[in-house]
Structures are given as C-alpha cells and as structure tokens.
C-alpha cells in the first residue's frame, strides 16, 4: 500500500517551463456537441467548428467557435468505449471492412458521451445576406488518412458521404438555419484530414463558395505511433513539410521549448518532487507528465552535481501511472527514488528518439 504525498514542485533540470501555452492548432475535442459549419467572410464561405460547450483539451469550453485548423475531433475507442463490429448484411459494405471487423463510429446523438457528437450546420447569421432561403452544399472532395482507411458520413444505413469509391465522396444539402446530426465512421484508427468544399445555392445557382479541411483522430486509447504521427496530427499540411516548424528540434513558438520536448513531456512540462509513503516508511520520489508507447526511450537519470555531464541511469521504481484521456499516450508517472544519496544529487528525465 503506497500513498503519494506531493511536496515540492518545479525542479528545472528539464529545460521546460509552463508558458500558459495552449497547444498548437488542432486541440483535441473529445466529447459533447459541435457542428462543422460555414460562415461568410469577405464574400467567401469559411468553415469552422461551431461549439456547443463541448470539451476541448480536457475542459468544457464556452468559446462559441473555433477555426477549422483550431481543433481535431478525437475519438478514443478504448476498453470503456470499444469500436462496434461491422454487421454482416450487405447494406453495411460501405464501411469498407469485413463483417465482424471493428468500425469506429462517432454517435449522432451524444451516446456514448465519451465521444465527439457532430453535425453540419448553416446557422451563422453572416449567411443572411446570401438569402434567407438558400441551401448550402457540403461536398467531401478529398481525404488523407491511414492507408486503406475509409470514411463514411451516414445515419444508420442512409449514406451521405463515403470514400470507398473515390472523390468527390458525396454531398449534403443543408438549408439556411439548418442543423443536422450524423454518424461519422472510420474504418481504421489514425489521423484523417477531411477536405470539404462549400457552396451557397440560391435557386440552383452558386452564389458563394469556399473550402476547408477538418481533422479527426481515431485511436484505440494508445497514443501516437511515433514522432511523425504526432507531427502529422498537430501541424497543418504546410507546416508538416517545413522542418524549421515541425521538425523535432524546431522551436516554432520561440519559447525555448522544442517540438521534441512537447512531444515527450506535453505542452506544460511538470516535474514534481513527492514523498511516497509505503508501509510506514517515507521515500523520495518524482512525478512527471510524459508520453508512452510512442517510439521514444524515456529514462530517469542521476548526477551528483549539475556542472558534470556525467549522468547515469537512476535507480527508480515506477509506483503509479495515471492516463490523460484527452491526450492518449500521455501519463502522469510517479517514480520512487531508491538512491540513498538523493539529498545531494540531481535528477532528470531524458527522452530519446530512435535514429530515423
């Protein structure tokens, strides 16, 4: 029986600090309701996430909207919310997997509550100048995702968009003021970018157009396969191509924190000094936020003094882990320090990427 007693915080051996940084674009949206919506800006239709107090980055968020590149819908299909098996009848062939294989379906009605619940809408007041009785066409024109991945927008067996036969992969018409909910189903875990074209239709004529990309991340509860998967998920397609922005050693925010550090230890790296009570004895320990199962080697190291580069692996025992739902793969980890000389020593956590 152990008990973690938090004590002193903010050891600065790891060159990370909390900057109040709220992450790059594509913050994780994990539960409750949003719509992908359009508004009119400078005569063009622009896509955005219309927020209905959904959970973003682990917190209920009251911001009315987010830009398209501001969020990703994160579906965590873990043991508590497993994927559904595809039913056998042929009407379900559109899912693109064999009968009995898993499908990753976001609900159309908020059940289960631990998944994003999404619709499409054309409710924004900025659309009024285009006419009160217009219709808005959302067309899926492209998608990137895991190899072999299939996306479907549907309600039960009524299919509105499906990528099995290529692109354009289907359209939905939403009348002005309209707001419709759908099942968003993916055939494989991974990160998907859905590219939509928008058209405002007035009596059959197109009176405004636009396009935007919306990102979805589907996971079975694990984190990113490796750094490249993380990079692919938190940066825009243009940024992914630019090593000075999305490379592991880049510091795109000029805050002294590299992408690699963020990948390994999160946006607000924290290193806490704790005491661990076990069977009446008190042991020193460290508690930190770090990523698991992502191709990295993370180790605790010890040095008798800071000026030396002579770091050695510390003698520690992992006592406790706490996963972070909105950032799969990230964990709070508590280690007991078994060294007797810790009073005069220094510790750090070191993350190493495997050679490419």
């Amino acid at each position: 029986m152990i008990r973690i007693v938090k004590c002193i915080y903010l050891w600065a051996l790891i060159p990370l600090m909390a900057f109040g940084f709220d992450g790059f674009g594509f913050l994780p949206y994990t539960r409750d309701h949003m719509d992908i919506a359009v508004r009119l800006e400078d005569g063009e239709l622009v896509g955005f996430w219309d927020n209905d107090f959904a959970t973003v980055n682990g917190q209920i968020n009251s911001a009315p909207s987010f830009p398209a590149a501001g969020l990703r819908a994160l579906g965590v299909f873990d043991e508590a919310t497993p994927p559904l098996p595809r039913p056998a009848p042929a009407q379900w062939d559109f899912f693109g997997v064999a009968a009995g294989e898993p499908i990753y379906m976001l609900p159309s009605s908020g059940d289960p509550v631990t998944l994003p619940y999404l619709g499409l809408n054309a409710e924004d007041p900025s659309l009024m100048p285009l006419g009160a009785n217009n219709e808005y066409r959302f067309t899926l024109v492209d998608m990137t995702g895991p190899e072999g991945g299939v996306f479907s927008l549907h309600v039960g067996a009524t299919v509105y968009m499906n990528t099995l036969e290529g692109f354009p992969a289907g359209s939905v018409l939403v009348d002005r003021g309209g707001h419709y909910h759908y099942n968003w189903t993916f055939s494989l875990p991974g990160t998907y970018d859905l590219y939509f074209e928008f058209e405002a239709l007035n009596g059959g004529s197109v009176v405004a157009t636009g396009s935007d990309m919306f990102r979805f991340q589907i996971t079975t509860g694990g984190g990113f396969d490796d750094y490249e998967h993380w990079r692919r998920t938190v940066f825009t397609p243009d940024q992914i191509e630019d090593e000075t922005i999305s490379g592991p050693h880049a510091t795109p925010l000029d805050d002294g924190v590299s992408n690699m550090q963020r990948f390994a230890f999160g946006d607000e790296a924290t290193f806490e000094w704790v005491w661990i009570e076990e069977d009446g004895d008190l042991f020193p320990g460290i508690r930190s936020f770090m990523r698991q199962d992502s191709g990295m080697n993370i180790s605790a190291q010890y040095s008798p003094q800071l000026v030396s580069t002579d770091w050695e692996d510390a003698d520690v025992t992992l006592e406790e882990t706490e996963r972070v739902f909105h950032d799969p793969g990230m964990e709070w980890r508590t280690y007991r320090i078994n060294h007797t000389y810790m009073i005069t020593g220094f510790f750090r956590l070191r993350a190493v990427l495997p050679a490419p």
Partner: protein
C-alpha cells in the same frame, strides 16, 4: 369495418380540434416544428431546479415571451453555467414556461422492444432531416463557485456524479387518464447507428429510467407514442451523487400526437370514397 373507422376518425377530429383551438397563453410554449430543447439546471444555493426551453435557429414555437435571465430572475443564481440569455423574447436562447407542449404530426412507426411507436424523427436518427418537432434534452449541471462568492477560488465543478431521466407512468396521462391505466405507451429511444434502436426508457417494458453518465450533455432522441392522442408526460429527473447528493425534480411535457396532414387527407379521401360506394350500394338496393 366502417363503424370502427368512423369512430377512429371521430377521435382524430376531437384531438385535432382540441389542439387547434387551444390558445397560446403567455409562457405556454408550443413547439410546432424544428428543434428546441428542454433544459435542466440546478440552483444549489436554493436547492431548486430550473427547467427552461432552449430556442435555436430552427425552432418553430409560440409562447416565447419570457427570456430566462440568470441575473434578473429571482429563482436563478450567479453560479449558473451553460445558459444563453436571448437578446429579446423569442430570440435564440433560454425561455421560461408554465407549460411546454410539443405538437407532433407523425405517421411513421418503428418497433422498439416489441411495441410499435409513432415517432418524431429526431435530428441524427433514422430518416433524418424530417421537419417534425424535435424536442432535445440539454443538461448543464455544473456551477461556477467563484461567481457564487467562493473566496478560495474554487472553479467550476459538477453538481452531481450523473443524471437519470425517468418516465413517471403514475402521473403521466393519455387523453386525461393515467398512462398506466391505458394501453398507450411512451418511449424515448435512439438509433444505435446500425439502424437498431436503443431505448432510454420505454413504458411498454420495465425499463422506465435511463442514466446519463454525465451531467453536461445535449442530445436528441426519438419520442415515441403507441397511439395518437394527447399525452402529458411527467418526467422524474434526478441528479445523483456528487457534490450535492441526490436531488429529484419533476418536469411535465405535453405531446399532441396526430397524423401528418397528408395522411389525414388520405384518410378523409378514403372515407369519402367508402361513403360514395355505400351510397351507390344503397341506391342499387333501393
């Protein structure tokens, strides 16, 4: 056969006339089309619930005369979270009501746990996009401690651990008779995504209560009714456990369930044709 059909038509006419002649008094909200939500909030300071009606862009309703404003409504409180104050009466946002009635024109049926229900196709379910009145549920059971004067700086937290939503068959009525004493049934059910149904509750079964494993959600389900007529559905809503322990509140929603006008017209045409044939027969006999 004609006798039975005529009785059924008479019942329909009574129901329809009753619905059409009922005036919309102040604070008596009627949802006639589009989407709106019944919205549950809990005032922990006073230990009372607020049930209001959320108007959205697509809402087609009457009786939207009293906006719900947390800062000026005596029964509300500063710790409220998740409400939307309308810019004016009838605008998008939350409204107070004395009675809430949903007028449903429905024809389609679906079997839920072995009972056929007429149902209003809720947003995101089955045929979708059908413009019937769609009453959603909105649950915002969190509060802002700082706004309530907590000098320790505690922030927002859940008022309860979860939330249950049950139909009270003893107090609910069908055409003025206790629901449990009639053959009519009410269900609230979802599409499970694979064209199956999942009932939150179904009075035709022993499943009378559904649990939301959250206190902060917004959802649309299908309201199902086994017979045409007037329903007064009494709902027992309960915040369970957590910061404030268990607290139950009763909310009542009226549903006028009638056939869609096109179906109704077809019935009239059919009866007229039947009458014509009967008249011809009588003429032939005469």
């Amino acid at each position: 056969m004609n006798k039975i059909t005529t009785k059924w038509l008479a019942a329909l006419l009574v129901s329809t006339v009753g619905f059409q002649t009922t005036p919309s008094a102040a604070q008596n909200i009627e949802l006639n089309g589009g989407s709106g939500d019944i919205f549950f909030l809990y005032n922990s300071s006073a230990g009372v619930w607020n049930t209001v009606f959320r108007v959205k862009t697509s809402t087609d309703a009457t009786g939207l005369t009293n906006p719900f404003n947390a800062s000026s409504t005596p029964s509300t409180w500063d710790g409220i979270l998740g409400n939307q104050v309308p810019t004016e009466a009838g605008a998008n946002g939350d409204h107070i009501y004395e009675t809430l009635t949903v007028n449903l024109n429905v024809t389609q049926t679906l079997s839920v746990d072995g009972t056929d229900f007429f149902f209003a196709d809720a947003n995101g379910h089955f045929t979708n996009n059908v413009p019937t009145a769609d009453l959603g549920l909105r649950i915002r059971l969190r509060e802002d401690q700082v706004a309530m004067g907590d000098s320790l700086g505690n922030t927002n937290f859940n008022q309860f651990a979860n939330f249950t939503f049950a139909i009270n068959t003893e107090l609910s009525t069908f055409n003025g008779v206790a629901l449990e004493d009639t053959s009519a049934h009410v269900s609230l059910f979802a599409n499970d995504g694979l064209d199956g149904t999942a009932a939150l509750f179904n009075s035709a079964t022993t499943n009378l209560e559904g649990t939301f494993n959250t206190v902060w959600t917004h959802t649309h389900r299908n309201w199902g009714f086994s017979e045409y007529g007037e329903y007064s559905v009494v709902l027992d809503v309960t915040g369970v456990g957590g910061e404030h322990g268990d607290s139950t509140h009763q909310a009542t929603v009226g549903f006028n369930v009638i056939p869609e006008p096109s179906t109704f017209a077809l019935v009239l045409v059919g009866l007229g044709f039947g009458g014509f044939i009967r008249k011809k027969r009588l003429q032939n006999l005469g």
